[in-house]
């Protein structure tokens, strides 16, 4: 059951890492931006969760901080506040300002994938997926579809569609049980040096550095 967590975490990483990592040569013409180790990407997100049998989606929104090659702080602000930390070591929930491990490993194929993606090796990382480029060649806006190769992963996720320009702007996860998550990302901003330090608190940096 924990696998889903990692599938989704991976997919997030995967999506977000398109802006951080060298990608397949066929994807290299995409105009996404690589985030280096000392670079911070900040963005806001809105999420719609469509559950099977329930017509109205569950809505949430919040903010995401991605520190190149380190990890992500995923902070939900509405309908209630919650912070998650995702690094190559695992997935944590921030409780009383301390990361509490939620899952260290779980689906380790995914963890390995995350680790590789975090280290900038997306080509290796995406090996577990069939990549289908949906956008037109040389189009400014790119769109890809990832389908899991692994049967186990297929039992959780049918496919994932990612699109963006310079940064990832939308992720659609089609779950195997009929559910769907649509995550829209906006207000992307890059921070380096002193600016980065202003945004990223020492505490957050400590979490990301483990």
């Amino acid at each position: 059951m924990k696998n889903l967590n990692f599938v989704i975490a991976t997919l997030f990483f995967l999506c977000l890492s398109f802006v951080t990592s060298p990608v397949y040569s066929s994807l290299s013409h995409f105009g996404h931006m690589k985030i280096n180790e000392d670079t911070l990407l900040k963005a806001t997100f809105k999420q719609q969760r469509f559950l099977q049998g329930i017509t109205r989606p569950i809505l949430s929104n919040g903010e995401m901080l991605l520190l190149g090659n380190k990890g992500i702080i995923w902070e939900t602000k509405n309908p209630f506040s919650n912070r998650m930390l995702i690094t190559h070591r695992g997935v944590y929930r921030i409780v009383n300002k301390k990361p509490r491990i939620v899952s260290k490993t779980g689906n380790n194929v995914i963890m390995s994938l995350i680790s590789k993606i975090l280290n900038g090796s997306l080509t290796d990382g995406v090996k577990a997926f069939n990549v289908n480029i949906l956008s037109r060649p040389n189009a400014k806006r790119w769109k890809i579809e990832l389908t899991p190769k692994d049967k186990k992963m297929q039992s959780f996720v049918n496919n994932i569609k990612i699109e963006g320009v310079k940064f990832v702007q939308s992720i659609v996860i089609q779950h195997a049980n009929g559910g769907k998550d649509i995550i829209t990302m906006e207000n992307h901003a890059i921070y380096v040096g002193e600016e980065r330090d202003k945004i990223l608190s020492p505490e957050q940096e400590r979490w990301l550095n483990g």
Binding site: N5, I8, G53, I54, R56, S60, P79, N82, T105, N108
Partner: protein, 771 residues
């Protein structure tokens, strides 16, 4: 008349005996090596039929774990694949426990449990609900519902809105250290280093010599090659310990065996300057071994390799019969009377045979299949040797009217000088007093050792490997458990559940670090009912508020929560690791609660006293009890043989003679025990086994000395003592405690027994032999 008949037909009977031996030899070869494989290799089959031993065998012998590490992970992965190929190519008795198969087993299990989810709660959730603290469960459910980084699986508001079933499932995933790489290989990260793991289960017992041989011949050289290539290899599993132990024992015994055999051959050639002795030695030993093995196979239908080896070694003492026979051929006046030597050996040889045979045969009452096989092999083997001496001796060795060869003569004369010196200085009394003092001091310091750890010290490198693995993952290797049995599954589960609060207290007191039982996975029907009530209350109190917060109003069909469905009343297919926690035997359901790291066994004994009808099982301790029991049995057998011998000699001669014959043997055994204790050696089963050999041979020395002819040579006893010391005494140099103890006890005992019997019974005037 009968004697005349026997003399007349002696040659025919000898030929008939030869035919019998040839027939039995053919039967043995066929049974052991050709058509049927009657050679047993599993060490545990030597032990009595004890379910606990089977349990420990299954649990500890099962695992084979190999850790591989190299700076270049691809090299470690390549090594892992080579291990897999080697196992496949050579059909090694190992089945890899792959991530896929484990995951599939668990998926099947939890799918089958899903319809019963309302009665299945994790310990944490149950505790929270019992204490009325459902807030955390509700919060967790909300988080899961909105979070894309869901930790408990797909959102399932219709069937399990509070994620109780995923909570129950994930509560069994204690160890999150082991990861899976993209190819499905198990890896673990430890101190920033990545280790690749091979994990498998043996399909045969780790204590089977066949298993050990297969792994030793195929897998171990491969692992050695990896180490040579700079790959760090660590091995974990009982089979590797067993391999190390048996390799060491085999090496030592074979080296010591070759050395002692060369020494014995050299000694006999030096003394007799002739190969003629080896003719009768070979004939007697072969007939003894053939008769022994054949009888064993006919009675038990099979023979264990260890019983075969150890039994044949004990039968080897019948070489003494040949030496006694051969020493008597010198200085014979009537060369035509080929039966003269047999007369000279009577009644000493029949009595010696009888005492040894009865002594070994008594071991048949020890409830160990291995010992029983050894008892039959040895006693019937000695019978074969005895018959061969009487039937073949006169035809195998020519009599000689010459004196002993010069070396033999010198030894003989030295022994006579020794006896005379002893008589002059009243050595008998002095020796008796000294030995009694040594024995008394020894008895004050005596202590016994029966622990398995003493006999089988673990290899340091393998221990370090295991420690390394423990530091990487939560690897609990526990042998102690509580056994709960009853007529039905429900009653067994209820009884386990009733023990859980007290087990939790033991955990808090650090008496145990944890426990594992089937009731944690499959609750009793009563517990399922209780859980359902808790879940219903949770739904009634919190479902609507959860839905409101998520802005959902569409869940109205409460039947989809399966709160009133049937209860789980039978066991589903259990995955590896759970299967051995419960079994059905003879209409009884037997469950084990495995206890982790029991710190104080006495607390567990008290625990059991408070809970009747359960049993605390500590297999390692049971081995110690078994060794202790075995030690007592052998000691009793020694006393019984001495008693039988005393009755026989008293009946044949008189009580005074009996005391003269028996007392040196008792004294030398007491001295051996005293001396070992004085030097701080704990007395073990193997010392006592050594003393049994000392007793058997000591009786032979005493009998042959007592019934020696006037003026005959004393060489035979000296040679048999030296050959015994060379055969068994050399084992003192073994680093295996069991072999060392046996060798040391035989060395001290035989040396003492030889000198004491020579001084006490070797006096010229005290002979009972034929005139």
């Amino acid at each position: 008349m009968a004697k005349v008949c026997i003399k007349k037909y002696h040659a025919h009977i000898a030929a008939l005996w030869l035919c019998c031996i040839l027939f039995l030899a053919a039967y043995c070869v066929d049974a052991l090596f050709l058509t049927s494989n009657k050679l047993e290799h599993n060490l545990l089959s030597l032990l009595p039929n004890n379910h606990h031993m089977e349990d420990i065998s299954q649990s500890i012998s099962g695992k084979v774990i190999i850790l591989l590490k190299h700076e270049n992970q691809d090299i470690a992965l390549n090594a892992l694949n080579q291990i897999r190929e080697k196992i496949k190519e050579n059909r090694l008795p190992i089945i890899e426990q792959s991530y896929e198969s484990m995951a599939e087993d668990y998926t099947t299990l939890f799918k089958s449990l899903y319809p019963y989810r309302a009665g299945l709660l994790s310990e944490n959730d149950r505790k929270g609900l019992l204490e009325g603290q459902s807030k955390e469960i509700v919060e967790q459910a909300m988080l899961e519902a909105i979070n894309s980084f869901s930790t408990l699986g797909p959102v399932n508001l219709h069937q399990d809105p509070f994620y109780l079933f995923p909570g129950y499932v994930t509560s069994f995933q204690k160890d999150q250290s082991i990861e899976i790489d993209e190819n499905g290989n198990l890896v673990v990260r430890h101190k920033d280093e990545l280790w690749t793991i091979f994990q498998g289960n043996l399909t045969n017992s780790a204590f089977s010599f066949k298993t050990q041989d297969a792994i030793s011949a195929n897998l171990m050289p491969l692992l050695a090659k990896f180490q040579h290539q700079g790959i760090h290899v660590s091995t974990i599993g009982a089979v590797f310990h067993a391999l190390k132990g048996s390799e060491q024992a085999k090496n030592e015994v074979s080296h010591i065996g070759v050395l002692s055999m060369l020494c014995i051959i050299g000694l006999l050639l030096l003394v007799f300057k002739s190969l003629a002795l080896f003719r009768i030695v070979a004939a007697i030993i072969i007939s003894a071994v053939v008769v022994g093995i054949a009888c064993c196979l006919l009675i038990f239908q099979q023979i264990h390799i260890l019983s075969l080896v150890f039994g044949c070694s004990l039968v080897g003492v019948c070489v003494d019969y040949a030496i006694h026979y051969y020493c008597k051929i010198y200085g014979v006046r009537n060369l035509d009377d080929r039966f003269d030597i047999l007369r000279k050996l009577t009644p000493a040889l029949p009595l010696a045979f009888l005492s040894s045979c009865v002594g070994y045969l008594l071991l048949v009452f020890v409830p160990f299949p291995g010992v029983q096989q050894m008892a039959i092999l040895t006693s019937t083997g000695l019978l074969g040797a005895f018959v061969s001496v009487y039937l073949w001796g006169p035809y195998l060795v020519r009599m000689n009217n010459q004196k002993l060869p010069i070396v033999g003569e010198k030894i003989n004369s030295l022994l006579h000088h020794m006896i005379n010196f002893g008589l002059k200085v009243k050595l008998n009394s002095l020796l008796t007093i000294t030995m009694m003092i040594v024995f008394s001091i020894g008895m004050a310091k005596i202590h016994f050792e029966d622990r398995l750890q003493y006999f089988q010290p673990l290899n340091d490198r393998l221990k370090n490997d295991e420690e390394l693995f423990k530091s990487m993952v939560s690897y609990d290797h526990s042998f102690q458990y509580i056994k709960v049995q009853d007529a039905s599954l429900e009653s067994v589960l209820q009884r386990i559940e009733s023990l859980m609060p007290d087990l939790e207290r033991l955990k808090l007191q650090n008496t145990i670090s944890g426990y594992r039982s089937i009731a944690s996975l499959i609750p009793s029907e009563r517990r399922q009912q209780e859980n359902r009530i808790l879940v219903k209350t949770l739904y009634q109190e919190n479902l609507q508020s959860l839905l409101d917060k998520l802005n959902i109003n569409e869940i109205s069909n409460a039947s989809s929560f399966d709160l009133n469905g049937p209860l789980l009343a039978t066991l589903p297919d259990l995955p590896e690791g759970w299967r051995d926690l419960i079994q059905v035997k003879e209409n009884l359901i037997i469950a084990k609660i495995v206890l982790m790291n029991v710190q104080d066994p006495l607390v567990m004994v008290d625990f059991i006293k408070k809970h009747p009808n359960i049993q605390y099982v500590d297999p390692v301790n049971e081995y110690a009890e078994l060794f202790s029991f075995y030690r007592h049995i052998i000691t009793a057998a020694i006393i019984l043989v001495l008693g039988i011998m005393a009755v026989l000699v008293s009946f044949y001669k008189n009580v005074k003679m009996m005391i003269e014959i028996i007392s040196p043997i008792i004294l030398s055994m007491m001295f051996t025990i005293g001396l070992l204790s004085c030097f701080g050696f704990p007395l073990t089963l193997f010392h006592i086994l050594g003393l049994m050999l000392v007793q058997t041979l000591g009786i032979d020395y005493a009998l042959f000395l007592y019934w020696k002819e006037k003026g005959s040579n004393l060489l035979a006893n000296a040679l048999t003592a030296i050959t015994t010391i060379l055969s068994f005494g050399f084992l003192t140099f073994s680093s295996s405690p069991a072999i060392h103890d046996f060798g040391l006890s035989v060395f001290i005992g035989i040396l003492t027994c030889f000198f004491i019997t020579t001084f006490f019974i070797g006096k010229p005037m005290q002979t009972g032999g034929l005139k």
